[in-house]
């Protein structure tokens, strides 16, 4: 451990050095060492504030370690490690560098003690992550990446604006509780909201994540949104409206997830749903609620990575992740199928799996504060998430009717990465105390009570029954090759149409303006030339002549202005 060294710098610095290492095993080992070293560094640092930098007349606290930032920084290192193992065979410097830079930026963001450092990491994360989408090198991915980048940069600009307002009003840039009534609070709130994929601001996520590379989606799923959850927990804990927002977030994506065909997009929707739970936890704002949000973010990174990794393996081997084209893959990829089901069980909150011990913190917190409407909706969302992520994903990919696709099992490195993630999911589910110990607030909570286990099993089993009945009766909507309109329709379809119209009007207006100005200048010169009558010669504006004319006109204007 080096005193006061920011773990983020290990990843960020290492990302550039990685290019110097020869391709292949040497580079892979080097990259593998980085998150391990980072995690050790993180572990060794006592809580406190380090690495103050003077920038202009501001003091930046680039490293602040406390309970909240520690949990996020730790799980980010684990996610980076898993992704590196998962991408072991990858031979693409772009993805390798981005795959270190992006986690580094995310770690930097959660460790940032002030808003300016946060903003810098915020933007670095945005810019580095887009390369994971572009690295797919298709036109479609390029456009999706562009839309993604616009949303992310937009969030950054709002954040910067909010920070400036905040600084002007308070003279402080320390990143602590802000709340909506603080100056600039709303701007910062919306900036965080974009990255946390609040309803109506969520579409970049479903739009872009499924278009990224096999590795890219795994990485993307881990950092950006959780960074935002961290930021909300730090700046807006206990903000009432977050409970409503979070409940909505948990609810509406499940409808889309049911009818979505691209299984990675289904996961993207379920991600939105899981984020909703965390946002509710932050909104409740009690120690239990915040702990729940942190714990659920921790668990979510792991099981969502596991699910995305398994779908990535399917994409790699079968060439598609469309539900309509898959089925029966369990014969070819039994291990992947098994690991995917561990992930499915985890996200569905089966007892002994991770979400069971983390989601229940949030539900318990909601119950204790008497938010019974949110409680019911979250229960609905829990049933729904089991339905689409727990059953639909494994069912359509690995079981259902046999699609006839026969392929190899996933490569060994991918299986290792998935296995590690699965082990962590089960580990958290079986030994929740270990996770509870690193949460920001000390809690005494036992998820394994008879009531909790039985009611959860009832909920899940009867949801499964509903699924089976619907499939058997043929009511269940079939997987179709299609896209579903979401709010991105607004900017992908409506805006281009409007923009074309507006542009036409603007260019016509500009032409008219130009004509008018030209006319004016002609009149002016005609006036000058009245005595000579050489209208034809003078009416044409010579480039040099018109420049000089401008200068003289301005001189005259200035003289008049100054004399007045």
């Amino acid at each position: 451990m080096i005193d006061g060294l920011n773990p983020a710098l290990i990843l960020i610095g290492g990302s550039l050095l990685a290019l110097l290492a020869p391709q292949g095993r040497a580079r892979n080992l080097f990259m593998l060492a980085l998150p391990v070293l980072g995690a050790l560094q993180l572990w060794g640092l006592p809580y406190g504030e380090y690495a103050r930098i003077e920038l202009f007349d501001l003091t930046l606290t680039t490293l602040r370690l406390d309970g909240l930032s520690f949990a996020f920084a730790l799980v980010f290192h684990i996610a980076a490690l898993l992704a590196i193992i998962y991408a072991w065979r990858l031979d693409d410097p772009v993805q390798q560098v981005a795959g270190l830079l992006y986690p580094g930026a995310a770690v930097g963001a959660v460790l940032a003690g002030d808003l300016v450092t946060l903003f810098i990491c915020w933007e670095l994360a945005a810019v580095s992550s887009v390369f994971l989408i572009w690295a797919r090198r298709t036109q479609r991915a390029y456009h999706a990446g562009m839309r993604y980048l616009l949303a992310q940069i937009g969030s950054g600009v709002l954040l910067l604006a909010g920070v400036i307002v905040h600084l002007r009003a308070t003279g402080s840039i320390t990143f602590e509780h802000l709340g909506l009534d603080s100056p600039g609070g709303w701007l910062i709130f919306i900036a965080f909201g974009i990255k946390a994929a609040f309803p109506l601001l969520h579409n970049w996520l479903q739009d872009a994540y499924p278009e990224a590379t096999v590795t890219g989606t795994v990485l993307l799923s881990a950092f950006t949104t959780k960074m935002a959850i961290y930021a909300l927990a730090r700046g807006f804990a206990g903000t009432e409206s977050l409970i409503t927002i979070g409940t909505l977030m948990a609810m509406f994506p499940i409808f889309y997830a049911v009818i979505e065909n691209d299984l990675r997009r289904v996961l993207a929707y379920s991600m939105n749903n899981q984020l909703g739970f965390m946002v509710v936890g932050v909104g409740i704002g009690t120690p239990l609620g915040l702990d729940g949000a942190v714990a659920h973010a921790f668990a979510d990174i792991l099981f969502k990575a596991l699910l995305f990794m398994s779908m990535g393996a399917v994409l790699l081997r079968a060439g598609t992740v469309n539900g309509s084209e898959l089925g029966g893959l369990y014969k070819s990829m039994p291990l992947t199928a098994g690991l995917c089901m561990v992930g499915a069980a985890s996200i569905s909150a089966f007892p002994l799996f991770s979400a069971f011990v983390t989601k229940s913190l949030i539900l318990e917190a909601a119950a204790r504060e008497g938010h019974w409407v949110s409680f019911l909706f979250l229960l609905f969302a829990s049933a729904g998430v089991f339905h689409h992520a727990g059953i639909k994903i494994p069912f359509f990919a690995f079981f259902a009717h046999d699609s006839g696709i026969r392929c190899e099992e996933a490569p060994r490195n991918m299986l290792v990465a998935m296995g590690l993630a699965a082990a962590l999911c089960v580990g958290i589910g079986v030994f929740p105390e270990a996770l509870y110990a690193i949460l920001p607030y000390p809690i005494a909570f036992d998820p394994y009570t008879t009531t909790h286990v039985v009611t959860q099993l009832q909920l899940l089993a009867w949801s499964a029954l509903a699924f089976s009945v619907l499939v058997r009766t043929g009511i269940y909507p079939p997987e179709l090759r299609s896209v579903n309109l979401d709010f991105d329709w607004g900017y992908r379809k409506l805006m281009p149409v409007v923009a074309t119209g507006v542009w036409g009007a603007v260019s016509r207006g500009w032409e008219a303006f130009n004509t008018a100005v030209e006319h004016l200048v002609k009149r002016l010169i005609a006036g000058l030339a009245r005595h000579h009558g050489q209208y034809g010669v003078l009416a044409t504006t010579w480039p040099t002549g018109s420049m000089v004319l401008w200068a003289v006109v301005l001189l005259g204007a200035c003289l008049i202005f100054y004399y007045l």
Partner: protein, 68 residues
């Protein structure tokens, strides 16, 4: 597949009856209703699928709708 389905039905009934065997710790009164979590889960899922099916009529478009 059939055995699988009937097995599931069996498990569901056993779990439902399980509610009779212990004292439920409930925060809200509705939690303590008999088999609340079971039928709530079932109804929710059916409602979810039926609503989503209706939604498809509105939002479904051809795969290359956006043209890229």
């Amino acid at each position: 597949m059939d055995q699988f389905f009937y097995g599931l039905v069996g498990i569901c009934i056993v779990l439902l009856l399980g509610d009779l065997l212990y004292h439920k710790h409930a925060t809200f009164s509705f939690e303590s209703w008999f088999g609340f979590f079971a039928w709530y889960g079932f109804i929710c899922c059916v409602a979810l699928v039926l609503l989503a099916k209706q939604m498809r009529k509105v939002v479904k478009r051809d795969e290359d709708y956006y043209g890229d």
